[in-house]
């Protein structure tokens, strides 16, 4: 039987992911440390996002997708029959590549997820207004939006929208936050803000971030997983370790070629 270590937030065991007959990801074994930032890097099409999305069962929204192997979250296989994906997705939140605020007010964007997951105000507990403010502060957005909470979430700039999406994710109290290239649609200043935010959030949350930007991975992450693929186009984990080590003394030739820009 597979042992789970409480140091790890998520553990993938022999994870294989298929789209129809096509194997997109093969035999991934990966253990994500708690309250750290883990970056997943690799060339396009190597299955980084697929792996990330399989960590909160978002992948199964794609009709043809299916997975084999295990993903352990706090020692429990999230693909177990008894596990409801809806509960998994609350505890393992996700921020997407393109900011996708709801077509609701800024306030409602944050409050909606909490409300539908049974948020209850009580003595010694925050009420909804306080909770929305807390989440927006955590996402470093409060000062910019506190006077226009009733305005549409879509009226914000791209970077603000992405931080609103982060605040919205925080509002359901997840333990892990998955980020799928969260800054790739943003300008450098907005990107910097998101990166700073990731560092701050890592004090409380486990963060896994997929990125194309190796400088970003080097700047924000504690650990880095490098994925690549071979002729069969199935992505696999090449090397995983401390970010410093991956970028300075990579053990694998493929990793070295990639991080030094000699890939391909």
């Amino acid at each position: 039987m597979l042992e789970s270590d409480s140091n790890f937030a998520l553990q993938a065991h022999n994870l294989n992911i298929f789209y129809g007959d096509f194997r997109a990801v093969k035999d991934v074994n990966l253990s994500i440390e708690r309250k750290k930032v883990t970056a997943i890097i690799g060339p396009s099409g190597c299955g980084k996002s697929t792996v990330l999305r399989s960590f909160n069962r978002m992948n199964e929204l794609v009709p043809t997708a299916r997975s084999e192997g295990q993903v352990l979250f706090m020692g429990q296989d999230i693909y177990d029959r008894q596990v409801d994906p809806v509960e998994v997705r609350r505890r393992i939140g996700m921020v997407f590549q393109k900011p996708n605020p709801f077509t609701k007010s800024i306030y409602e964007n944050v409050a909606w997820g909490a409300k539908l997951n049974g948020f209850k105000a009580g003595i010694g507990k925050p009420n909804m207004d306080e909770w929305v403010e807390y989440c927006l502060r955590k996402a470093a957005l409060w000062d910019e939006v506190k006077d226009k909470l009733k305005q549409s979430g879509l009226s914000l700039s791209g970077g603000q929208q992405q931080r609103l999406c982060i605040a919205r994710t925080l509002a359901v109290s997840p333990e892990v936050i998955l980020m799928d290239e969260p800054a790739s649609a943003l300008d450098p200043i907005a990107t910097l803000k998101i990166e700073e935010l990731m560092r701050e959030l890592a004090e409380e949350y486990t963060i896994i971030v997929v990125t194309h930007n190796m400088q970003q991975a080097a700047r924000v992450s504690d650990f880095t997983a490098f994925f690549s693929m071979n002729g069969d186009r199935a992505g696999f984990l090449v090397e995983y370790g401390n970010t410093n080590q991956i970028f300075t003394i990579p053990q694998n030739k493929m990793t070295e070629d990639y991080v030094t820009g000699r890939f391909g």
Binding site: M58, G93, V95, F96, N100, F102, T103, L116, A171, V172
Partner: protein
């Protein structure tokens, strides 16, 4: 990958061809403008035609002087009922007299009613001796008046708007000047109400199922293909279906018999309910396709965002998919309702009455609708019926436009929210 081993430096030559390209573009632009212009002209002609027939001069001949009807020096006000009936018999056509007798035997009516018949049908029969379209009425007024004076010395010529409050509030009548569209208008409104109540929830429900729930299996693909094909089926076929199912097979329900509703005049299933059900069937495929289109247009990123927060499928659909698809859903509803309002053929097949003078009083009533009324009037030989048909077309267009305007207002309200 293969690269030429002995690479020769190739310098391509480009012929300057910008003028012909621009020329081609401007030719196409002109063609598109031309098509738009032709369309606009057609529309103008249509409107001109309707409006020209709705307003214009009418010559009405009131030939009989009441004094000339006096029998042996006794004026008609003082004659007894039988004498009045004799006057009616002598001074109206046989057909008219039979019709009066059929409505209610004259002898059974009160004296006042019979006297009214004398005034309406003998003294002022309102025989229309001529009608003229709008433009002619405005430009040749004197000539027309002179012409009429020559042929019908007692006739009066006056400018008439065939569409007027009395036209909208009067029931169907055999007298053109008294005929109105109330019966047809009420029939249309009731049928549309039933169509909306039935088709909208079913259509939206089916579309949500097909887009959000149905997996990609052959059976769902077959359903989808069939819906697409049904949208193109001629409406008369829906009429046949309605006749077989709603009028015949479901007669106890559509005639209201099971609900204890018995009306001797509607002893069968040819009711407003049958018509509404038939039109619901007719618009469902178009509605489903439009709503599906609207749902598909909601970006997937919104669904993912909701799922990512731990929303269930239903919460995602209810809070994000449907509100964001609402403008498109309303557009689909507008199209469907417009189509249903204009349908004639299926309603004729299921047995709409062409001539009824009483208001439909509920879903189990006999009915006629505006398009059927218009069709019936335009197929009459007398020119003045064409005038009231044009007036009825204006009523139909106004009804359509106001329903559409409501839906567009609703749509804009939804789109403006965020």
């Amino acid at each position: 990958m293969s690269t030429p081993t002995n690479s020769i430096r190739l310098t391509p030559y480009f012929e300057s061809n910008l003028p012909p390209r621009n020329r081609k573009a401007s030719i196409w632009g002109t063609l598109f403008l031309l098509s738009t212009t032709i369309g606009m002209i057609m529309l103008m002609l249509l409107l001109y035609n309707i409006i020209s027939a709705t307003f214009g001069l009418v010559a009405i001949d009131n030939q009989v002087d009441p004094a000339s009807l006096a029998v042996n020096g006794v004026p008609i006000e003082e004659l007894d009922q039988e004498a009045l009936i004799t006057i009616i018999k002598e001074n109206t056509s046989k057909g008219k007299f039979r019709q009066l007798e059929r409505e209610q035997p004259l002898i059974e009516r009160t004296w006042d009613e019979v006297y009214q018949v004398v005034i309406d049908d003998v003294v002022q029969p309102n025989d229309i001796v001529g009608t003229w379209p709008l433009v002619e009425s405005l430009t040749r007024k004197e000539e027309i008046v002179a012409e009429v004076k020559q042929e019908h010395p007692k006739a009066t010529v006056k400018f008439t708007s065939w569409i007027n409050p009395q036209f909208i509030t009067s029931p169907q009548s055999s007298d053109v000047l008294k005929a109105g569209v109330r019966t047809a208008l009420l029939g249309t409104l009731l049928i549309i109400a039933i169509t909306i109540v039935i088709a909208l929830p079913i259509g939206i429900g089916a579309a949500v199922y097909l887009e959000e729930y149905a997996s990609d299996t052959w059976i769902n693909r077959t359903i989808q293909t069939n819906i697409n094909n049904l949208a193109g089926v001629p409406s008369i076929i829906y009429g046949m279906l309605g006749l077989a199912i709603f009028v015949r097979a479901m007669e106890p329900i559509t005639s209201g018999a099971v609900f204890g509703f018995t009306d001797p005049t509607t002893a069968n299933g040819r009711t407003i309910l049958s018509a509404g059900l038939t039109l619901s069937l007719l618009v469902l495929p178009v509605l489903i396709i439009n709503v599906q289109e609207a749902i598909r247009a909601v970006p997937n990123s919104l669904r993912e965002g909701a799922y990512g927060l731990g929303a269930t499928k239903w919460q995602t659909i209810w809070h994000h998919v449907l509100p964001n698809a609402m403008p498109g859903i309303l557009t689909g509803a507008i199209l469907s309702i417009s189509r249903a309002i204009g349908e004639t053929a299926p309603l004729v097949v299921i047995g709409a009455a062409t001539y009824i003078t009483f208001d439909p009083d509920g879903p189990f009533s006999k009915f006629t609708t505006l398009p059927i009324q218009i069709y019936q009037w335009t197929s009459r030989a007398q020119g003045e019926y064409h005038n009231i048909a044009a007036a009825a077309i204006l009523v139909l267009l106004t009804l359509l436009l106001s329903l559409n305007a409501t839906a567009i207002l609703l749509r804009n309200r939804y789109s403006r929210r965020y």
